[in-house]
Amino acid sequence: MIPGLDQGEESMGVIGGIDPRIRVVAAIVFAMAVVSCRDMAALLSGLAAALGVLVLARLPVLPTLRRMVAMDMFVVFILVMLPFTMPGDPLFEFAGFAASRQGLMRAVEIGLKANAVVLALMALVGSMSSVTLGHALYRLRLPENLVHLLLFTVRYIDVLHQEYLRLRIAMEARGFQPATTLHTMRSFGYLVGMMLVRALERSERILAAMSCRGFVGHFPLFDAFRIGWRDWVFAAATVLVCTLIVALEIA
């Protein structure tokens, strides 16, 4: 199993009891509120609110925080460069290049926004099963075939990951060791090509199996989403928190 991508497991805790549609919308509203701010106090309270949701979602705290902090190398590089590329009051010098205070503030600001949004997203939406996510998106009027594509993808990621691991074991049993060589590139290329070929053949079998069970292009999506008083309380709390963050920004 690829860690984090659960198909059936619902997290417990307060967040787990909230309607999935409300959680998706809350994540978007929160992201918009945080991204629109520039004030440090507002951004820090946004990050604090996201941490609060993480606790309520009962996700494993340390692994989730590690995922939050991890960014692509190129984003880290751009943030580190910002103090040197943004004009402003010089703060310090590094290897002959002056770093500006404005640039440093901008980099900190982006870092805070990115982490707050990703943390809230993982706590609110990442804590539901990927199948529930598909159903919630369908109920939020996303196109039906996009949702089917999502459900198919989720269903087969784990299957294909197992297949990938089997192929890797087969390669290693024949003495394959990855290095920066042409041989490695060709072997990995064949690996990806083989996975694609097998995937297509698998999909032919899936379609045949589904056709003989009467598949006509869509599944009935059964779910029992119901919005109760808890959901309204949660929605109100989300609006309140977002309003407070934006109020800090304006003040």
Partner: protein, 207 residues
């Protein structure tokens, strides 16, 4: 190449969302009963491929393979790669939420461009020639993706321009790796199962 939330200006984020929605819409029109399972399974394959780390000197890079995705899926690459990016953001915390549109365009638009530029070459009589077109597609897709990231950053502000340029040049080794891998993958698929590049997702202009 996941841009995070908070880095780009609001017009760039909104523009990316509109373009992504249009591309996804065009891709979804091509999803029929027959090819929804195939698209889903192939989308899962590209998701798993992005977990493969290829050693590059002392470090390693993870694969993107969007050129290959475009060659196989055509416009269906838009919804397929969007689904992958959505799952990565929600469950792994890669990238962000509001920038999902920009990130989708940066990954999927190059895939579609490669489809139109290199798809005919994949059908060449000799598998070795097909391999060269596959390699070209793999390199071009990463070049376009990096250029797209640089454009999104440059449209946001001049302070990003030097870093964006350096990011582009830093990705030249990645282009080489993706070219070699895509070429090898195309060569194998052409020998084992040429239908992979067959009629399932062929765009009309080559029909």
């Amino acid at each position: 190449m996941h841009i995070v939330d908070g880095a780009l200006s609001i017009p760039v984020v909104a523009g990316g969302a509109v373009l992504a929605a249009a591309g996804i819409g065009l891709g979804l029109k091509r999803l029929t009963i027959e090819n929804i399972p195939a698209t889903g399974v192939l989308s899962a394959t590209f998701f798993v491929a992005s977990l493969i780390h290829v050693p590059l000197g002392p470090s390693s890079v993870h694969l993107i393979m969007n050129g290959l995705a475009g060659l196989v899926l055509g416009w269906a690459a838009f919804p397929a790669l969007f689904v992958g990016l959505l799952l990565q953001a929600v469950f792994f915390g890669f990238g962000g939420l509001l920038v999902l549109g920009v990130n989708t365009v940066n990954i999927a638009l190059p895939a579609v461009m490669v489809h139109y530029l290199c798809r005919h070459g994949i059908g060449a009589a000799s598998p070795n020639r097909a391999m060269l077109w596959g390699a070209l597609g793999g390199a071009l897709a990463i070049a376009f993706t990096t250029a797209g990231v640089a454009v999104a950053l440059a449209l946001t502000g001049n302070e990003f321009v030097p870093a964006a340029k350096m990011v582009f040049f830093a990705h030249i080794p990645v282009m080489a790796i993706e070219a070699l891998l895509s070429g090898a993958a195309v060569l194998l698929a052409r020998r084992v199962k040429p239908e992979l590049f067959g009629a399932l997702f062929q765009e009309k202009s080559h029909a």
